[in-house]
């Protein structure tokens, strides 16, 4: 598949994003078609994320949007990795939407941001995934090479 297919679609998305984004989602950088960063924040008063902004990094392969982008949270002094039972403390996200099986080419950067936003909004558990410490210590794989078991589809 040629890079141009992905680029064409990303150009269209960028155009739309520059025009408008839903509240709580902001584009930080999109200097090329390989990697974009966006900030998201929870809109309601969820005490777990009150006053926090989170940085997302999107990496696009040449097969985007047929295949999912690689999406992770980035840890910065003023951008903590949100605490959530499906988000590891190294920023890796366990969400079926971002996996080979759950992804659909109809999804896009904006829809992924909105899904993550609502995943945080709905969360009441102040905890990391089970085995977080072990996983963060041991994992050397890229997110797309990890077989997540989507054990819980309610979030």
């Amino acid at each position: 598949m040629s890079r141009s297919f992905a680029n064409k679609r990303l150009a269209k998305e960028l155009q739309k994003i520059n025009n408008s984004l839903p509240p709580g989602i902001e584009l930080v950088s999109a200097e090329n078609f390989d990697e974009w960063t966006l900030d998201i924040r929870v809109l309601d008063d969820n005490p777990l994320y009150r006053g926090q902004i989170h940085r997302l990094k999107f990496k696009f392969g040449t097969t985007y949007p047929i295949e999912p982008p690689e999406v992770t949270f980035v840890n910065l002094p003023d951008r903590p990795i949100p605490i959530h039972p499906h988000i590891y403390s190294n920023g890796i996200i366990c969400l079926d939407l971002l996996g080979q099986q759950g992804w659909s080419p109809v999804q896009n950067v904006e829809s992924v941001c909105m899904s993550l936003q609502s995943m945080l909004t709905g969360n009441t558990k102040n905890e990391r995934p089970p085995g977080d410490e072990e996983f963060v210590r041991g994992n050397r794989l890229r997110p797309k090479d990890i077989d997540f078991l989507y054990h819980d589809n309610t979030v």
């Binding site: 598949m1 297919f5 064409k8 679609r9 269209k12 998305e13 739309k16 097969t63 949007p65 047929i66 295949e67 890796i92 366990c94 939407l97 080979q100 759950g102 992804w103 659909s104 080419p105 109809v106 999804q107 995934p129 089970p130 085995g131 072990e134 996983f135 041991g138 994992n139 794989l141 090479d145 990890i146 077989d147 997540f148 078991l149 054990h151 819980d152």
Partner: protein, 529 residues
């Protein structure tokens, strides 16, 4: 499927231990396998087991070559073609739609032919044949293109995308993900499967060959009793009646015509006597603990007496330091002279030290020591098997040379090959006995197991030591006979160990310190092995 029990009782009801027991009955008829979905009259597996002995570790199976697989498919297609009076091409589509369950297809089709045809994408009305369309005002949700003359396509769910995007999507599925018969609509959350006629319309010429190849593969992939041989480039498939739920009772090792031996349950290389679940846990543990344990499997060690570096060059554990002539055991670094009479010290972890552990720290140290004890031996046999293999390759070259010089025929030198094969297989078995033992809770049977393990280990080390001698010595007829004896002794010890372990497993007589049924999968990520 209540006849699974028949299979298990067939496996466990035989009390004979050695396969050379002439009282063993032949496997007669296919009654143990009457739970196969489709008994294929011509290629039924029963007759091929005529000579097989019923022993607990030896699982009946049948290897099929590509031509056999094609023939079985063709026969099913022909049958459906005749019974339902449907063209062969459509019969194949229907069979794939029904996951090659011919009985269900015929039954359903007799009841409501229209619905069956429609569900398989074989609707009869020309109006509903799949076609590309140009619709005014259409915008593709994948590439976000619109514009006049943009050709689009949708299956019955109505999720419509431009042809270009559809083809990109199919190329990804077919080429990269190896899907063909069950590709879903590109829309998120829409699980509708793209039917065969639509695919015929959309699949581009450069993908057709791969697409049809994948369609052919569904015959094997849709049947629980069939699996592809996992050896690279091997086109064969294997049929075996062992079910997933039997895997806590049996370790179904099968071997392909290509000589690859693998487990029908988990497709990994042969891991008898350890059950699949233990193997899965063990490999995960080893991967997780690899940094701690790495130093142990290193190829070099220091001589315990003079400290000079020693490199292991063959599979044998008996090491002699080149510098000071100190003889020691590679595994435990203990004196070799002590091993002649008490191999016991080297294969069995002394659990009693656990009783002395007073605080948590000491306990965790003991549990690490325990793991390292078994891992050390596991890794050692794994490595030795590799080294033995190198050695046998070298030996083979020398044998060719010797053949020229001594005039021995190729047949006459095959005993070396047999010895090398025995070493490989026995080392693999030994390797897995240590993973098995790691999870084994002590009961009155473990001592017999450890004795069998010890006997096999000794037999293997003896053979391995002999195998390392120069080829010119091995050509001597007396040594040749000795090597052949040692080879058959090794094989015999292996069979005794496997038989005993498998029998106890089938009878549920082992106690493990982990749960054997229900996988360890709880939640979260697991690394792809």
């Amino acid at each position: 499927m209540d006849s699974d029990e028949d299979f298990m009782s067939a496996v466990s009801s035989e009390d004979d231990i050695l396969p050379d027991d002439s009282e063993n009955e032949d496997m007669s008829g296919g009654e143990d396998f009457d739970d196969f979905d489709e008994p294929d009259p011509d290629l039924g597996i029963s007759k091929d087991f005529g000579q097989r002995k019923r022993v607990a570790y030896d699982i009946p199976f049948q290897v099929y070559k590509p031509a056999d697989i094609q023939k079985q498919q063709d026969e099913l297609v022909n049958e459906v073609n005749m019974i339902l009076d449907i063209p062969k091409g459509e019969a194949a589509i229907l069979l794939r739609h029904f996951r090659w369950n011919k009985e269900r297809l015929i039954e359903d089709y007799m009841d409501r032919p229209r619905q069956v045809l429609e569900a398989s994408g074989l609707a009869l009305e020309p109006a509903s044949l799949p076609k590309l369309e140009v619709l005014p005002g259409f915008m593709c949700d994948i590439c976000c293109e619109d514009g006049d003359g943009l050709e689009s396509f949708a299956i019955k769910c109505g999720h419509r995308y431009c042809v270009d995007c559809y083809r990109h999507y199919l190329a990804q599925k077919i080429k990269e993900e190896g899907e063909a018969a069950r590709i879903q609509c590109p829309s998120g959350g829409c699980n509708l499967i793209i039917d065969a006629r639509s695919l015929d319309l959309l699949v581009t010429p450069e993908l057709t060959a791969r697409y049809h190849e994948l369609l052919n593969r569904t015959y094997v992939e849709d049947k629980d009793t069939l699996k592809w041989c996992p050896a690279p480039d091997c086109p064969n498939a294997i049929e075996c009646g062992v079910k997933k739920k039997d895997l806590d009772k049996v370790v179904p090792t099968v071997s392909c015509l290509c000589e690859h031996r693998f487990c029908f349950g988990c497709i990994l290389n042969d891991h008898q006597p350890a059950p699949c679940e233990l193997v899965k846990r063990w490999l995960k543990k080893c991967a997780d603990d690899s940094e701690t344990a790495n130093w142990i499997s290193a190829n070099t060690k220091e001589c315990p007496r003079c400290g000079s570096t020693i490199e292991k060059n063959g599979g044998c554990n008996h090491m002699t330091c080149r510098k000071c002539k100190h003889e020691f055991c590679w595994m435990c670094m203990g004196l070799w002279s002590e091993h002649g009479t008490s191999w016991y010290n080297c294969n069995r972890f002394e659990e009693k030290s656990g009783l002395d552990a007073r605080d948590a720290q000491a306990k965790s140290r003991v549990s690490l020591d325990r793991y390292l004890h078994y891992y050390n031996r596991y890794a050692n046999h794994e490595q030795s098997a590799r080294l033995d293999k190198n050695l046998s390759q070298k030996t083979e070259k020398k044998m060719v040379q010797l053949q020229k010089e001594s005039g021995m025929s190729w047949i006459e030198v095959q005993y070396l090959n047999a010895a090398s094969q025995a070493l490989q297989t026995c080392r693999t078995t030994l390797m897995w006995t240590y993973a098995f033992a790691f999870y084994l809770a002590r009961n009155n049977l473990t001592e017999i197991f450890e004795d069998n393990q010890k006997d096999l280990e000794m037999a293997v080390e003896n053979l391995s030591a002999m195998f390392e001698r120069p080829v010119t010595e091995l050509a001597d007829s007396k040594l040749k006979v000795e090597l052949m004896d040692k080879t058959s002794y090794c094989n015999k010890r292996r069979i005794i160990l496997l038989e005993d372990t498998a029998q106890n497993l089938a009878d549920g007589r082992w106690t493990f310190n982990v749960e054997l049924t229900g996988s360890a999968a709880s939640s979260g990520p697991s690394n792809r092995a």
